[in-house]
Amino acid sequence: MDILTGTHEIQVEVITLKGRLDALEARGLRDLFDAHLAGGRNRIVVDLQALDFVDSAGLAALVKGMKECRASGGDLRLVAPTTKDAMRVFELTRFDRVFNMAADPETALAGWS
């Protein structure tokens, strides 16, 4: 019998946000996504649990990141905000259904290949 061995590595970038994700902060987040994508790191989890405000510009940064990750065969998944205020923009725009939204980081990290 021949035995061939190898290792398959799956790397997921985890970004944890705290405070306000608004127009002022969205650019920094977009830059971080761009840096990961440029480096071929297209599996990203963004943990929104500790956010207390998200606006449509913050949402736009996440949507753009998700589209680009998916376009290159990866994904951007969210850990859902815990406050109603931070969750509101996702519900009003129906993006709570477009994103893969997990209740905790462990769930968001499960199921990559």
Binding site: L59, V89, R94, F95
Partner: protein, 133 residues
């Protein structure tokens, strides 16, 4: 009717962070608890003001907010000396086709019980009304 209170902001994103604290002073609170409508109203006015910065581009670089409050309603007026807004031309996002931008108006319209736009000379006047109870 209580007397109106006002907030004048520089038309930049950092200044928009004053909207939330200002609304806390304007909205009625019970037992020191924040008004339950605060989060919705902050998001709506934040989106309205963001649009003035992004699209109206005020000549004097200022946004003016006025709050009129009565027992059950809060009316917020946003005034800026920016470009005219062709309200009828604003597209509605297609729910089947997720896009990156273009959700601000949709958010405001869902949160406000009414929203009006008037152009008075070179002044844009947006008036949004919210239930507070």
């Amino acid at each position: 009717m209580n007397p109106p209170t006002t907030l004048t902001l520089d038309a930049d994103f950092l200044s928009l962070r004053q909207i939330g604290p200002w609304l806390h002073t304007v909205l009625p609170s019970e037992d020191g608890e924040p008004n339950p409508a605060h989060g919705s109203i902050e998001l709506a006015i934040h989106e309205l003001a963001t649009n003035s910065i992004d699209h109206a581009n005020p000549d004097d670089g200022k946004l003016h907010l006025t709050a009129h409050i009565n027992d059950s309603e809060l009316q917020i007026e946003l005034r800026d000396r920016g470009d005219f807004c062709e309200v009828e031309a604003i597209p509605v996002p297609d729910p089947e086709n997720p896009q990156v931008r273009g959700y601000g108006m949709m958010i405001i319209e869902q949160l406000a019980s009414s929203l009006t736009y008037e152009r008075i000379d070179d002044l844009n006047v947006w008036t949004a009304t919210f239930p507070t109870t």
